[in-house]
């Protein structure tokens, strides 16, 4: 009985085992027998035992006790034992095992063996698991084999050299001369090995790359020969002559032609020829064309050739084979930045691929579509993207929504379109949008002043249909709170107006407040909106009062705090309610309190979630807005006396306390060097310094700092400012109104100025304070500003 039947019998027995336990039993018995056999002297069955062990190893069982047997078998004079020994070495040993060093000597001997098949075994094993030391040891041997042996060995030696160069890059110098001479071989196997070796050498060493640039004409000729040759039965694959070699030559040409005009010129004709003559009906041809396209795009090719390459990719897009569509899109993605117009021509096909069944193809199509968005095609492309969003796989939704928002932001043809698009996305995939979407959308809505009516109508309709999408509900609540009066008016130019009563609106908000689907942040929005409506509606203020007082004992601390504060607003500060809850100004996108997706600094972004989660952050603004009178400001300049519950003086209802904290935190983050400050007022121990900071072309931040050098505290400090007619002024809340004595502290007030007409800037400041029980009031005019101003 031939011994190898025993191996097959063992395999049969193992496969016949009905349970895992039975299999383990069989294998344990066999392994014990194998171990016993290994300990015995040579009896002609060693190779079969090792083969059995290798099978067991493939099933996942430990086989380390076979390592020494591999070493012994490799040293055997018999070919069949060597063969299995080397196979075992490749499977059980790797460079990290100690036993692998022991086979170095055997490999060395076998490299000079009389039989080429034994040499081949040694070369194969060396290329598979040769460690760095082994490579250094045996490199001269390989070099010898590269020069003086038959083609069977030469091709293997070339690839073995590739492995050595990967392991020990310095060996590249040793192999370069031999590699050069191999290029003149005729045998395809050797040529292939030579091209791979040269590619590896050129990738690692720029000097070698320079050297091999001279070989470009030779490579071009070689390639031409392959493309134009007739049918060669030996190397033909689906009508292409040796596609493996063709692809490797093209890759080498790519490396040689990169960033080099002469080399690129030399290969232009060839690449055009390959591109036009290769038949791409089968995979082999497509592989060659694909490599050609990659080469054309990477070297300095002429524009006609580039257009040809992009057209090939476009043709690939229409191919029935999904693989070819996939790689076409991958390649188009790489070149969409540089050859944008050429890729745009194929936009239609790319967009069609969005509807493909395969998830990988869809993903590629999505990325390409987003890269192709431009001002010209935004409307049609967005339609397709929105259609895609409604049916896209869940793992792509977040990416799609953020892509759509970016595209809309950059290329929106009109504000109404922009708002519509964002609303559409929120209704379709509101759960997958980023956190910044809500503040961004709100900012956008405030800027679109003429669309307030339209927007609030749309959002109201969306709200009464569905309150599960948190982002949409939050924006809707905010809008209803702000523009509820427009809703109740019952007329709208842009869209069909709704006929609602105040009760309906309050019902909607209350549903959100009470629903278990609403997140705490959303409920916060709803409560604030309800409160805001108290100044915009006429009849149901009591209802609002009762809602607010109910939530005064809510379990959620945030809601409770708000409700208590709003209650206070109803009771003690009812005279201020109208001013506090007035319509919001246009939110400036670059103000520090506003998070704007990508443009927000990292530190601010980190703080936002900690403090505010989904809330909008509003800049701190008292209700005095734009002042274009040279007269001093009236009462509106006075800061509010803070009561214990309203800790900051800002009237922004949504984030009164949290926002104040944020401003302090932001103050702490300020790391820019302080611009020079000028003392503008000094009297009674009170010093007022002015500091300017140029923010933009027309905008400037002025910081007024008041210090006190007297023995007693200065109380009741107020600062008011007036500027020329065309200049816009915004006073921020002062840091306080008490200046501690002996210069122990200071009060700062920030003033934002906008000077669009660039008139000469003057500012008049009225300072008012109580010092040692006497009230003082002074006016200072500042005509010239420190040098940082214009």
């Amino acid at each position: 009985m031939s011994p190898s039947v025993r191996l097959q019998e063992m395999i049969r027995v193992i496969r016949g085992a009905r349970t895992q336990g039975e299999e383990r039993g069989v294998i344990q018995r066999e392994c014990a027998a194998i171990r016993a056999q290994f300990r015995q002297a040579d009896n002609g069955t060693r190779s079969h035992n090792l083969a059995k062990l290798l099978y067991v190893h493939m099933l996942g069982y430990p086989a380390h006790f076979g390592q020494m047997e591999c070493v012994r078998l490799i040293a055997s004079p018999r070919y069949n034992e060597k063969r299995v020994g080397y196979l075992g070495a490749m499977m059980l040993l790797d460079e990290k095992q100690d036993a692998s060093l022991l086979i170095t000597n055997s490999i060395k001997n076998d490299l000079s063996h009389s039989s080429q098949y034994v040499q081949s075994l040694a070369l194969c094993t060396l290329a598979c698991m040769g460690s760095a030391e082994m490579c250094r040891d045996l490199a001269p041997e390989i070099d010898r084999l590269l020069r003086a042996s038959n083609s069977y060995i030469k091709k293997k030696a070339a690839l073995c050299a590739v492995h050595m160069v990967r392991k020990v890059p310095e060996l590249g110098e040793l192999f370069t001369p031999a590699a050069r001479s191999l290029l003149s071989e005729k045998n395809h196997g050797v040529l292939h090995g030579a091209v791979v070796l040269i590619t590896e050498l050129c990738e690692r060493n720029p000097d070698t790359l320079e050297q091999f640039r001279k070989a470009v004409p030779e490579l071009v000729l070689m390639m031409k020969g392959l493309v134009m040759s007739g049918y060669s039965p030996e190397h033909n694959v689906a009508g292409i002559s040796d596609p493996f070699l063709q692809v490797r030559i093209l890759r080498l040409l790519r490396i040689l032609g990169r960033n080099n005009d002469t080399a690129s010129d030399a290969m232009n004709d060839l690449l055009a020829q390959v591109a036009t003559n290769t038949d791409s009906s089968k995979t082999a041809g497509s592989a060659v064309l694909y490599e050609t396209v990659l080469t054309v795009m990477d070297i300095k090719s002429e524009s006609g050739l580039r257009v040809l390459a992009v057209n090939i990719l476009g043709r690939f897009l229409l191919n029935n084979d999904r693989n070819i569509r996939y790689i076409s899109m991958t390649s188009l993605q790489k070149i969409v930045q540089t050859d944008h117009n050429a890729v745009q021509r194929h936009r239609g096909t790319i967009v069609d691929c969005l509807k493909d069944q395969d998830a990988s193809v869809k993903r590629r199509a999505l990325e390409l579509s987003l890269a192709l968005v431009s001002a010209v095609n935004i409307r049609s492309l967005m339609k397709e993207l929105l259609l895609f969003l409604s049916s896209c796989p869940p793992e792509l939704r977040a990416h799609t929504t953020s892509g759509i928002f970016n595209a809309a932001e950059r290329y929106a043809p009109s504000q109404r379109w922009h708002i519509d698009t964002i609303l559409h996305v929120l209704t379709t995939a509101g759960g997958d949008v980023r956190d910044e979407t809500v503040p961004n959308l709100i900012q956008l809505i405030t800027t679109a002043t003429e669309l307030h009516c339209y927007t609030v109508h749309k959002l109201y309709r969306a709200l009464i249909t569905d309150i599960s999408v948190q982002s949409l509900v939050q924006v809707a609540c905010w809008c209803i709170g702000e523009y509820g009066d427009l809703l109740l008016r019952g007329e709208c130019e842009e869209t069909e107006p709704v006929q609602v009563t105040e009760d309906d609106v309050l019902d909607a908000l209350e549903t959100v407040l009470q629903s278990h689907m609403s997140s705490p942040a959303t409920r916060g929005f709803a409560l604030t909106a309800t409160m805001k409506l108290s100044t915009r509606i006429t009849h149901n203020v009591d209802r609002i009062r009762s809602i607010v007082s109910i939530y005064g004992s809510c379990i959620d601390v945030e809601l409770q705090q708000r409700a208590v504060e709003y209650n206070a607003l109803f009771k003690k500060y009812d005279h201020m309610r109208a001013a506090v809850l007035e319509r919001m100004p246009v939110i400036d996108k670059s103000s520090p309190g506003h998070t704007n997706g990508e443009s927000a600094g990292g530190t601010i972004k980190e703080l936002e979630p900690a403090k505010l989660t989904q809330e909008i952050v509003l800049p701190q603004e008292p209700s005095n807005q734009v002042c274009d009178l040279l007269d001093l400001l009236g009462d509106s300049g006075e800061p509010f006396q803070p009561s214990p519950s309203l800790s900051s003086t800002a009237p922004g209802p949504a984030s009164s306390t949290a926002g104040g904290d944020l401003l302090d935190l932001l103050g702490g983050l300020d790391v820019t060097p302080a611009p020079p400050s000028v003392t503008v007022y000094e009297k009674n121990g009170v010093t007022l310094k002015l500091q300017t900071d140029r923010q933009t072309d027309t905008g400037m931040t002025v910081t007024l700092t008041a210090t006190n050098s007297t023995d007693g505290d200065i109380t009741g400090l107020t600062l008011q400012a007036a500027v020329p007619k065309s200049v816009q002024l915004q006073m921020k809340a002062p840091s306080g109104d008490v200046i501690p004595a002996h210069g122990l502290g200071q009060v700062t007030q920030t003033v934002l100025l906008n000077n669009p007409n660039k008139v000469s800037l003057k500012i008049r400041v009225r300072v008012c304070y109580t010092s040692q029980s006497s009230v003082c009031q002074d006016t200072v005019q500042i005509d010239s500003f420190p040098s940082t101003a214009w």
Partner: protein
């Protein structure tokens, strides 16, 4: 270069594994598990290319066997499909209408054929005829030795 080549059945049983880079044993097992889960989980008419870590994975199903290889990022995936196909053709020529059982019971021969076709993760010979001839010659050398040794044993010669 190719980093690894795996053959596994529809049930996820490994039939052949060739590693062209040094990988610890535990890592090998993990990669095999990952590959089988990923490839077996693909829908029938998906494309044959995947991404895994920084490698491109190309796989093709032939009857009940999945051929799966991991490539460097700059490799040509379509050519890799051709490489896999060429290997299947070689097996087919050698075994005559190859099926999974052939590869199970003659796994060492499958390895020998692979070692004639790929070396160090690269294709070493592009001609089918040359490859078949060298495989046959090696087999004949092996047979000759075995015959000789049998002969020796029978006659009791050392």
């Amino acid at each position: 270069m190719m980093h690894f080549l795996l053959l596994f059945s529809r049930q996820g049983k490994l039939r052949l594994q060739k590693w062209f880079t040094p990988v610890p044993e535990r890592e090998k097992k993990k990669i095999v598990r990952d590959m089988t889960t990923m490839v077996l989980g693909r829908k029938p008419r998906s494309c044959n290319f995947l991404h895994w870590k920084d490698l491109k994975i190309v796989y093709k199903k032939y009857a009940s066997l999945y051929f799966c290889c991991g490539l460097d990022a700059e490799e040509n995936e379509l050519l890799a499909l051709e490489v896999l196909h060429r290997y299947v053709e070689l097996l087919d020529k050698y075994f005559g209408n190859v099926c999974e059982l052939d590869i199970i019971f003659n796994f060492e021969k499958a390895y020998f054929i692979l070692d004639e076709f790929l070396l160090g993760g690269e294709v070493q010979e592009t001609s089918k005829q040359v490859l078949s001839r060298s495989i046959e010659a090696s087999d004949m050398l092996q047979e000759a030795e075995i015959d000789n040794s049998d002969y020796d044993l029978e006659l009791g010669w050392p």
